[in-house]
């Protein structure tokens, strides 16, 4: 025992004396400090947003996340410290001293393990200390800090870091001890990283949640899963305890580690380790000692020495280094890990509602780029270290360094060998990707796209990392610190943006990506991508020069000598290369800067926020100023796709709808300085009183005020050009193929725009602005006079002439009046025959068109002959779901018109647009629909899990023709419920018919998940549904849950009757616009008295249930039926706006039921439950499998899975 302590103490002390230990410590300390300080608002020009602004950065939840995630970086430290604990003895050939000492194997291993574990914990302690120190910094945003609690700092260690050090460190320790090599440790660390990456990918399917929580060795995913539904109040106060998925994760991984450790203890042997392969040493026997023939010619063999062409050696050396790297089991393991990642990850490719997309090539490559880059980075980092240190570790450096090869030769050879590693991996992964496509029955191979994605783009980025890694290892000249520096680089790159470093010009290797779209290809992205690659390529050459100058050759020690050697190497050619590279770097950098900052306006997030602040400060005082409204829009829109330019000419007819005169016209332009205003003419005498291009504001003083009811025109000629490229984002509105331009991108917005203000409280505090409310009260009379969609109009007459290139089709809301070609341009004249919302967009592309029609039910109205043509404009190749979308359109048009009121248009069109954005949007009879959300979905009808979400999305957008285009809401709380929740409801009802109840439950499970996660990450406050402030998780997700349950409770027909009345009250009316008050009143009318409480709970309060089944037993009755008795617990809670919950008495109608093996209902009865605990008995016809309370999950319940339990007793 004392030997064990002595060994542990020696290991511990000697590691503490190493400078590297303290380098790790300091870097972790600094990163934690920086992270916390940034999250806590210390850096005014940083725009950090870590989760909800309402969760204190030092809350138990936040610390668990921060310490846990930063601790993941510790994998490098663990490999360096714990992996080396035993391996160092072999590397330094010290093993014989220890193995011949009178100590037991277990004392040696245990001592080394404990000692190194202690050091790792000391290093990790810096994370907590750094986090704590940050909270004491002056200048932190006091609102972002809570009270410091010791337990909040300690628990992340107890549940995450200490177990990680034990299990991951233990695995590394064992691997290195058994193999006496570090490479297995590196491979091990890549594998644990893969586990984490995979968990990140898998969690997209909520059914994988438990699996994802288990396969992340770091436990951070388990923490996320455990806490994902925690409300803000809980996140701020509740300590994360070892329970649920976290407990299981820790147990499983510790068990695995124990297994590895046992293997280590068993396999590790002093005897075998003490000498290296004694058997082979006998080879020297039998060689006759005196038989030295000494042929003098031996050394004089007339070999030609030619050292003048060292480059000819390069292929040989590259091959040698590459073989050394690749020709072993470890590389095979890495490749296998990559393949497994691909295969598992591809099961959830593009998952939406647990339904994946077809494995299109860009989807497959998308899996690999992005998060998988971390995998490649680690591999490159490790192998670069191995390459750089190869000769020195084998103590061959003196021999190799003394050979007459130029110093740059091994450097280049190692670089090229290193660069070939990602080539190999990418090739393997590409083949694997194609294999997966075949396995999934997708045979449209696009080798060219694969090559350009994986080699043409991503590989070049990896190569820069190769150069960087080699340079870092060359300059740092300490293997493990070199590795660590690379990890720090990677982390800084991940968070640079949030720390305020946004320009790609000063983030090495930062290359803005090129999003492939089947519609637009790489579009305009390539110039920028290639420019940045060239720029960083030049920087890589400079790094390479630095690597060369600092490259270790000979036994130089200390910086002084290395500097002297570097000076010596700074010869003509080197300087020449450096100068050329620098010239290229500076030149390309200048070119990029010219593009990003001179041709375009460069604005950091902070600058953009500042602009919003300036806007508010300068113009908020005019918010109540009376302004005219737009009553008609007549436009000539010219799209120039190849130039990415759009011009809009035309006029608004505007009318003063106020009861007071308008004497100033206030105009806003969304694109500010980028917009070219060629002409802007008001139909009445006026004078430009104020102009601020930066804030996009123009104010015209009217010489004669516009009297109430008086109208005039606002004529304009506006153009939005594209010049060069930008640092971030880009013009994805007008693109080569598949343009999608919202009118408001160019057109003036009348009146002060509240949307232009800075919204988040934490951002506002940073600029000294008071917090603001997001919306007016739902019954605010002024708010109800304003259209919730577009504040500067009610209904407008709309007409447009749209032109585009000759081979493209251009589409806008309205009916096509005429189409013609003039010169090289194609013209379309669209006109609406009735006023529409002031909400329109223009699209243009080379589309294929799928046509169908819907037979209008019932009496045709007015000018409508009855048949409504349906058209889908799509990218050829994206035919997968067209039929489903057309079915959905027909079903939705039928359902909605039957139940709510007639469809107001004579056509219906869906137009696909590139996946630069992933949404569909409902304009009058026109639905732009992203290629990313449905066109490529892979819906297998027989699969129990697949949800036909193209069907759902289409039905939702169809429903908006009623909710949004027939009924509009006021600009008040709850407004978006009337638009979105009703569209969700309509879509759900249409879906229900098509998909059946089982899949509806699946769908609603996703909605519940979305709601619960949404409220947990709320930035300001959660509101009841009827007061939703444009919060997506409420108006979509909770809206779905509530409306679906309501239809179940009230009956679909009865609810539809209320909705129809509401629609009839308000369709095509306003101002004033309706609020949820009117809607709820209509619903209450059809609600029986005993269910009125439901309306309060669903719309007016935030209510959650904690229902569960305790037990269920059954007995077979003589008549062949079964009597099921279940013990149930029902709890109801009311939450406040931050999720603080209060128990309330229950007296609710809740389902109790019995399910079969497929989770389908055998019997469900609605019972009045008015005690927390109750016992219920049901008699059923079929054999019961599960039974419980609210078995079909109609109510909002944070733990829906415990509502039923298996039935016992049969």
């Amino acid at each position: 025992m004392s030997s064990l302590i002595a060994i542990a103490a020696f290991e511990f002390r000697s590691r503490l004396k190493l400078i590297s230990t303290w380098v790790y410590f300091l870097i972790f300390f600094a990163v934690a400090l920086l992270w916390m300080a940034a999250a806590g608002g210390l850096f005014k020009d940083a725009a950090v947003s870590f989760g909800s602004g309402k969760v204190a950065v030092n809350s138990p939840f936040a610390l668990m996340q921060t310490v846990g995630v930063l601790g993941m970086l510790g994998v490098i430290v663990m490999s360096a410290i714990m992996g080396r604990a035993v391996q160092q003895d072999f590397e330094h050939r010290m093993q014989s001293f220890f193995f011949t000492a009178p100590i037991e194997k277990m004392q040696y291993l245990g001592g080394r393990f404990i000692g190194s574990l202690g050091v790792v914990l000391i290093v990790f302690a810096s994370i907590g200390l750094g986090s704590f120190a940050a909270t004491a910094l002056p200048g932190m945003d006091a609102e972002r800090l809570g009270a410091n609690r010791l337990a909040a700092y300690l628990l992340p260690y107890a549940w995450v870091l200490l177990p990680n050090a034990l299990l991951i460190g233990g695995i590394f320790f064992s691997l290195a001890a058994i193999t006496r090599k570090m490479l297995p440790v590196y491979v091990g660390s890549v594998l644990v990283l893969i586990g984490w990456l995979l968990s990140q990918q898998l969690i997209r399917d909520i059914d994988n949640r438990s699996l994802a929580a288990m396969i992340d060795p770091f436990g951070t995913r388990a923490v996320s899963v455990l806490t994902e539904y925690w409300t803000i109040a809980e996140r701020n106060t509740r300590l994360v305890m070892l329970e649920g998925p976290l407990l299981w994760n820790r147990l499983i991984w510790l068990a695995l580690a124990a297994l590895v450790a046992a293997l280590c203890a068993w396999r590790f042997s002093f005897a075998a380790a003490a000498s290296e392969r004694p058997a082979k040493a006998k080879a020297s026997k039998g060689v006759d000692p005196v038989a030295v023939p000494a042929p003098a010619v031996g050394t004089r063999t007339s070999a030609t020495i030619d050292t003048s062409r060292p480059l000819s050696l390069l292929p040989h050396l590259v091959g040698l280094y590459l073989r050394e790297t690749v020709k072993n089991i470890y590389f095979g393991v890495l490749v296998l890990a990559g393949l497994l990642f691909m295969i598992f990850a591809s099961t959830t490719v593009g998952d939406t509602f647990g339904t994946s997309t077809w494995p299109l090539t860009f989807q497959m490559t998308g899996l690999l780029n992005g998060s998988f880059a971390a995998f490649m980075l680690i591999i490159v980092t490790f192998y670069s270290g191995e390459m750089v240190w190869r000769e020195r570790e084998h103590r061959l450096d003196q021999i190799a360094d003394g050979t007459p090869v130029p110093t740059w030769l091994p450097l280049l050879a190692k670089l090229f060998a290193l660069m070939l590693i990602p080539v190999l991996l990418q090739a393997v992964l590409m083949l694997c990707g194609i294999g997966i496509q075949v396995a999934k029955g997708y045979f449209r191979f696009e080798p060219a796209l694969y090559l350009s994605e994986m080699f043409g783009i991503e590989l070049l980025n990896y190569w820069m990392i190769c150069v960087l890694a080699l340079a870092v290892h060359s300059v740092v000249d300490h293997k493990y610190i070199g590795h660590f520096v690379m990890i720090v680089y990677y982390v800084l790159m991940l968070f640079a943006g949030q720390l305020g470093l946004e320009h790609n010009l000063y983030k090495f290797g930062s290359v803005p990506g090129a999003t492939w779209s089947d519609i637009n290809g790489y579009g305009h992205f390539m110039l920028r991508l290639r420019s940045f690659q060239a720029y960083w390529g030049a920087a890589s050459v400079l790094l390479l020069v630095a690597a060369y100058l600092m490259w270790s050759r000979g036994t130089q020690s200390g910086w002084r000598e290395r500097r002297a050697q570097a000076r010596e190497r700074l010869s003509g050619p080197t300087v020449g290369v450096a100068l050329i590279a620098f010239a290229a770097f500076a030149g390309i950098g200048g070119y990029i800067f010219y593009n990003t900052n001179i041709l375009n306006i460069y604005e950091s997030t902070f600058d953009a926020q500042q602009r919003q602040v300036d806007y508010e400060k300068a113009y908020k005082r005019f918010a109540a100023e009376p302004q005219p409204k737009i009553v008609a829009v007549n436009l000539t829109v010219d799209l120039f796709p190849m130039e990415q330019r759009v011009r809009m000419r035309g006029a608004y007819a505007i009318t003063n709808k106020n009861s007071v005169p308008v004497d100033v016209l206030h105009l806003n332009f969304a694109t500010g300085r980028a917009l070219v205003v060629k002409q802007l003419t008001l139909g009445v005498p006026n004078q430009l009183a104020e102009e601020d291009p930066r804030l996009g504001v123009r104010r015209y003083k009217l010489s004669t005020p516009l009297a109430p009811g008086q109208g005039t025109t606002l004529a304009f000629d506006l153009e939005l050009p594209t010049h060069g490229f930008t640092n971030e984002g880009s013009n994805t509105a007008v693109v080569y193929n598949g343009s999608f331009v919202n009118g408001r991108l160019l057109l003036p917005i009348i009146g002060y725009s509240v949307q232009g203000e800075l919204e988040r409280d934490q951002d506002r505090r940073k600029f000294g602005l008071a917090p603001k409310e997001r919306a007016l009260d739902r019954d605010d009379p002024k708010g109800l006079m304003v259209n919730g969609l577009e504040a500067d109009a009610d209904y407008v007459a709309f007409e447009t002439t749209l032109s585009t290139e000759a081979d493209q089709i251009a589409i806008a809301p309205g009916y096509l009046q005429r189409e013609w070609t003039e010169g090289a341009r194609r013209y379309f004249h669209y006109k609406m025959d009735a006023p529409i919302a002031n909400f329109f967009a223009f699209q243009s592309g080379r589309y294929a068109v799928r046509k169908d029609s819907w037979k209008r039910e019932g009496a045709a109205t007015g000018n409508d002959p009855g048949d409504v043509p349906i058209e889908i404009y799509y990218q050829p190749g994206h035919e997968f779901n067209l039929a489903s979308m057309i079915d959905a359109t027909k079903a939705a048009l039928s359902y909605d018109s039957r139940n709510f009121g007639p469809y107001q248009y004579r056509q219906f069109r869906i137009i696909e647009f590139p996946r630069y954005a992933s949404f569909a949007q409902s304009f009058p009879n026109t639905i732009p629909y992203s290629e990313g959300i449905g066109f490529i979905a892979r819906v297998r009808p027989d699969d129990p899990k697949d949800i036909d979400y193209p069907y759902y999305v289409t039905a939702h957008e169809v429903a908006h023709q009623w909710w949004g285009h027939q009924v509009m809401s006021g600009d008040v709380q709850g407004g978006s419920m009337l638009i979105e929740s009703l569209a969700q409801y309509s879509a759900l009802m249409v879906m229900k018919d098509k998909l059946g109840p089982a899949k509806m439950r699946k769908f609603l499970e996703y909605e519940l998940n979305r709601y619960l996660i949404g409220r947990a990450t709320e930035q300001k406050k959660e509101l009841p549904l009827s007061r939703v402030e444009n919060q997506a998780y409420i108006h979509y997700a909770k809206g779905s849950l509530v409306m679906y349950a309501l239809a179940d409770y009230l009956g679909e027909a009865r609810l539809n009757e209320a909705i129809r009345k509401f629609r009839d009250d308000h369709a095509f009316k306003g101002p004033p616009y309706p609020s949820t008050t009117q809607f709820i009143a209509r619903v209450r009318e059809v609600t029986p008295p005993e269910m009125q409480y439901l309306i309060d709970d669903m719309f007016e309060r935030i209510v959650l249930y904690d229902n569960r089944a305790v037990s269920a037993s059954a007995k077979a009755l003589p008549n062949g039926r079964y009597e099921v008795t279940m013990k149930l617990v029902a709890k109801k809670r009311v939450a406040d706006e931050l999720g603080k919950e209060t128990d309330v008495a229950i007296a609710d109608l809740i389902d109790v039921g019995v399910l079969d093996a497929k989770n389908e209902a055998i019997a469900v009865e609605r019972r009045k439950i008015d005690t927390e605990e109750s016992t219920v008995t049901l008699v059923v016809d079929r054999k019961p499998v599960k039974a419980g309370i609210d078995p079909l999950n109609k109510l909002i319940d944070r733990k829906p899975n415990d509502n039923t339990v298996p039935v016992s007793g049969l």
Binding site: E276, R277, A279, K280, A281, A283, S284, V287, P289, A291, V292, P293, A294, P295, A296, V297, G298, T299, R300, T301, S302, A303, T304, I305, D306, T307, R309, S312, L313, H316, L320, E324, H394, R395, L396, Q398, I399, A400, D401, G402, T403, P404, V405, P406, R553, G554, T555, Q556, S557, G558, R560, E561, A564, Q565
Partner: protein
């Protein structure tokens, strides 16, 4: 061909003065660099092998065939040195899984033997010469210390080096291996410069017509073994004393070495005349010269560094 070292100095960052104004002239043939551990031999060797820079001083290789002007500035023109260099470091490793033939072939490429057939010949011939031919396909990891050392010399001989530097080559070799190794060195050491460092006097006396003795970074003496031995002629006295008396003898006399012989301690002292009763005059040996030099009793007078250059007989001091 000659190697001239002038005023070489080197101080390590930790303050150790490894080379202190070293000046030497080394002619063709075997040259022994003798000194205790830590004398600065390896630093000097590494400096000559271009692996390390000196702080001051110069090193010049002159009369090099095939080089324009025949001169190479060893400290500056490292590339040129490496083209004529064969180096066997004191401590080196191998890739355990690579066999001797492949490894030599690889190093031969690095040395500039580009022709494949020639390279194969050279490698085969060196493997024969070092008696490794039979085990050429065996992984280097399985080699014994002696085999590994022979492999080291084989790689040092690749490409017909003109300047061969072997640092403590016999450390860890058994006598048999050592003899074989010496034979090899002698064979190649006739036309080229071979600098051999060792702390074993007999290595030098067996092999080297010329030598220098170093300690604490300084060259104490250099010359032929005879010169060094002769400079002690008549001045070395030996006595057999009890172990307990050794300390007293050390106090009174300039003791250059003590050694145990049949249980008694034989003490060699240096003195112009008989140091006293019990002391017999003995024939000086190179070992006496070595210890005398280390002890500061010899050097910087008669056999000053590099003054006398003579083509000494090959095994001049082998008579010992």
């Amino acid at each position: 061909m000659e190697l001239h070292l002038t005023g070489l100095s080197k101080t390590y960052p930790n303050g150790v003065r490894a080379l202190d104004d070293v000046s030497l002239t080394i002619p063709t043939g075997m040259f022994g660099l003798l000194g205790p551990n830590g004398a600065g031999k390896s630093t000097l060797m590494r400096t000559l092998a271009t692996l390390q820079d000196a702080d001051h001083g110069s090193a010049q290789l002159s009369g090099v065939p095939g080089v324009a002007g025949g001169n190479i500035n060893v400290l500056r023109d490292k590339a040129a040195v490496r083209r004529v260099l064969g180096y066997l470091p004191q401590d080196f490793g191998v890739y355990p899984k690579v066999n001797a033939e492949d490894m030599l072939d690889h190093l031969a490429r690095l040395k500039g033997i580009t022709n494949k057939d020639e390279r194969a010949d050279v490698v085969a011939s060196l493997l024969r010469q070092t008696n490794l031919y039979d085990v050429r396909k065996k992984a280097l990891g399985g080699y014994s210390g002696g085999m590994r050392q022979r492999f080291g010399i084989a790689q040092a001989l690749l490409g017909r080096p003109l300047l061969i530097i072997v640092d403590e080559p016999t450390a860890g070799l058994d006598p048999e291996e050592r003899t074989r190794f010496h034979n090899l060195l002698v064979e190649i050491g006739e036309e080229v410069i071979v600098v051999l460092s060792t702390h074993i006097v007999s290595d030098v006396s067996d092999l080297c017509p010329r030598l220098a003795i170093m300690n604490k970074g300084r060259v104490l003496v250099s010359g032929t073994p005879q010169e060094l031995v002769e400079s002690l002629d008549g001045r070395v006295w030996s006595a057999s004393v009890a172990l307990s008396d050794v300390a007293a003898v050390r106090e009174r006399h300039a003791v250059i070495s003590t050694r145990l012989y049949t249980g008694k301690t034989q003490v060699n002292v240096i003195a112009a005349s008989s140091p006293g009763p019990g002391f017999d005059r003995v024939e000086p040996t190179l070992e006496d010269a070595y210890f005398a030099a280390i002890g500061g009793h010899l050097g910087t007078n008669g056999a000053a560094a590099g003054q006398v250059v003579s083509e000494g007989a090959v095994f001049a001091s082998a008579s010992r």
